[in-house]
Symmetry: C2
Subunit: 256 residues, 2 copies
């Protein structure tokens, strides 16, 4: 397909590379930021623009891989009315395009992307949603060309999936931060926790979270829990988080 | 070394296998539970007993890989006074042996162990602590024989490390559980989150938790945060956890 990419952030960068690699034509890319636009254009060897009036009219599909605020204004642009217009936002309904585009939808790779680390698109679930059956078929074909796991979901499911991702990624990463702070204040290096972090994530590929749950709260070992509380007594915020999560694990146990 | 293993749980199983594999002699193992004792004895092809009075007297080292309550009574046994006695407990000081044994310490592999999944001991940090220099040298040698990362730490550091592990493993796993509950209530399979979970853990092997932090709270995107809060409005416990963790990420951001 002939694709124009709107955006040059982490997702736009990784997605456009994956699409180009399997033979799609990235015709052009737009970003309001010159340096980001040029950096991605150099990787892809395609033209770029930072001027909205110069965005091409002849693509089959426009992928809006931008933040939610930018999305709202960019979909107002009078781009090719027959093309498909999709956003990549977890928490935005496809109704945002209603009345503005004829063929639209969402193309949502469910993964965390960073400039520093490449990811294999084959392993990434892509969630699609379309305004009509023709668009659905096209998006399915596009998604299948770069990945094995394609899910057709609606906007409410996508919002919930995004929320689940906040727990499994953003909040988990914050727990890594807390863990790192604790070992460093005990004069130990963060390195020492890394094997546990990897194993915890790998375990869940084979076991359910319920089967994988271990620890003093799971065993209701109050002696250890009290030692931990004592170690946190000077940090009320962490102590409260410790209590809350321990109680949630304890209660999940009881209700089984 | 000639080793007697006290306990036949996940840690005892994995540790004794690793030690035997590199040439140490597992002389005997004890567990109060016949089935566990026999299962591990069958794997190792060594004698076992479920009778405390039959535990051998001629080992170089006794490894007490049991829960904290069992540990307290088992260290009272009149086993070889010249041998080294170590426990594997994260939250128990080595002072528990004081006045009861001459040579003692702790041998603490910092990892989560399960019967279902084998782990490579080479990658696991082992933390040792000893009552005297001779014991320290022996424990260092023993740890080095099965792993690359050996840390000599004191009991307070070990307690903090254990606490950090509760955040990075037990609590992280509970967030996986929440995440799983959210996608399943949206009629999506848990499978869809697994690639994100792995990538989140792998990212942290290269980036610091601070560099790896992303998400609506990090960007202070109140529009998305409010959509998520709305999706959680019928589950007060999750809503409060969402608010608490989001605020912690927001505040960490502000204070930088």
């Amino acid at each position: 397909m002939r694709i124009i990419i709107i955006g040059a952030g982490n997702l736009a960068t990784r997605l456009s590379q994956a699409l180009q690699k399997v033979g799609h034509e990235i015709m052009q890319l737009y970003s309001r930021t010159q340096t980001s636009a040029k950096a991605l254009a150099d990787i892809l060897h395609v033209p770029y623009t930072i001027n909205i009036s110069e965005i091409g009219q002849n693509a089959d599909i426009y992928i809006y891989a931008v933040n939610d605020d930018a999305l709202e204004s960019l979909i107002e642009l009078p781009l090719s009315p027959n093309a498909i217009h999709v956003h990549t936002a977890g928490s935005v309904s496809i109704d945002i395009f209603k009345g503005k585009k004829k063929n639209y939808g969402s193309f949502y790779p469910f993964q965390t992307f960073s400039k520093a680390k490449e990811v294999d698109f084959n392993d990434i679930p892509i969630c699609i949603e379309a305004s009509n059956k023709q668009v659905s078929l096209k998006l399915f074909e596009l998604a299948k060309s770069i990945c094995n796991n394609v899910y057709e979901i609606n906007s409410e499911q996508r919002l919930n999936l995004h929320l689940a991702g906040v727990f499994a990624n953003n909040f988990v990463n914050h727990l890594y931060q807390i863990s790192s702070d604790i070992v460093e204040s005990a004069n130990l290096p963060f390195e020492i926790i890394k094997p546990l972090i990897i194993e915890t994530a790998e375990k869940i590929q084979q076991l359910s979270p319920n089967e994988a749950q271990t620890g003093p709260a799971k065993r209701n070992n109050q002696t250890i829990i009290n030692k931990h509380r004592d170690a946190l007594k000077h940090n009320n915020e962490l102590l409260e988080l410790y209590n809350r999560l321990s109680n949630m694990i304890l209660n999940a146990n009881v209700s089984q």
